[in-house]
C-alpha cells in the first residue's frame, strides 16, 4: 500500500483485549474526514468489520496464542475517496474459500465474522504472503 503522510499505523498484540483500542483509533481517524455521509453509522460499521477481521486473526491465524502481533495500516485514498485498511499477521494461513455463507434458516451461533466484514465493506481481500497473511479492506466514502 502506498503510504500517504496521514497514514495511521498500529502494531497491536494479537489479543481481543485490544479490540477497543483498534475501534477507538478507527473512530477517531474517520471523525477527522470531512463530508462522510452518516459519519457515526459509517464509522461504526467500519469498526465492526475491522473488529471481525482482527478477531478472526486472533482466533485462527494465531489460535489464541499470546505472542502474536497484528500490524494495522489505515489510510484515506482519493479518486475515488476510500478508506484502505490492511491487517497483517505472521500466523497460520487462512482459506476464505472454506468459510461457508451463514445459513439464515438455522439459528447459527458462529460463522458470521467474515460475512459481516464483506457485508459492511466494499471489498475484502485475503492475501497469503511468504511470511504471513494480509487482509486488504476497502470502504468507499
Amino acid at each position: 500500500m502506498e503510504r500517504h503522510p496521514d497514514t495511521l499505523r498500529l502494531d497491536l498484540p494479537a489479543t481481543n483485549k485490544y479490540l477497543n483500542v483498534l475501534g477507538a483509533c478507527l473512530d477517531a481517524f474517520i471523525e477527522r474526514i470531512n463530508g462522510v455521509a452518516e459519519p457515526r453509522i459509517t464509522a461504526y460499521n467500519i469498526q465492526l468489520a475491522v473488529n471481525e477481521i482482527f478477531a478472526n486473526i486472533v482466533a485462527h491465524a494465531y489460535g489464541d496464542a499470546p505472542d502474536g502481533r497484528v500490524d494495522v495500516v489505515v489510510m484515506l485514498a482519493t479518486d475515488p475517496r476510500r478508506l484502505l485498511i490492511e491487517l497483517s499477521d505472521t500466523g497460520s494461513a487462512f482459506d476464505p474459500e472454506t468459510v461457508a455463507e451463514p445459513d439464515f434458516e438455522d439459528v447459527q451461533i458462529h460463522g458470521y465474522g467474515l460475512f459481516l466484514a464483506r457485508s459492511l465493506l466494499d471489498d475484502v481481500t485475503y492475501v497469503r504472503c511468504p511470511d504471513g497473511n494480509t487482509w486488504r479492506l476497502i470502504k468507499y466514502l
Binding site: L19, N20, Y44, A55, V107, I109, Y112
Partner: protein, 109 residues
Amino acid sequence: MALNTRALGNVSVLDLQGRFDAHIAPAVIEWYGRLPTAQVVVNLAGVTFMDSSALAALTGGMKRCRQRGGDMRLYALQQPVQVIFELTRMYRAFEIFATEAEAVASFTR
C-alpha cells in the same frame, strides 16, 4: 464493559454497559453457568458496540435457556447495535422488546 445482574421474581436480568465484543463475550458466557433460572432478560440499553462474538454469546445463551425450558429475551437495543441483528437476521431468533417491563412481562403471557 460493565456487567451487573439482578433478579426480578423468577427472571434474571443482565445489565450490560459499554462495548460488548470478543474480549467480553467469555465473561457473559461464564455468567450463564451461574444462573439460577432459565428465564433471562438482557438489558442492552447501555451497549454501544456488539460484534459477532457478542452475538454468539447471546445466541448460545438463548439456546441454553430454551433447552432448560425457559428463554432469553432482549430489550432496548440501540440503533447502531441493530445492524448486526439485521445483517445476520438474528432479530428473527430473539424476542426483542423496547422496555424491561415488556420483556419481563412476556414470561407471564
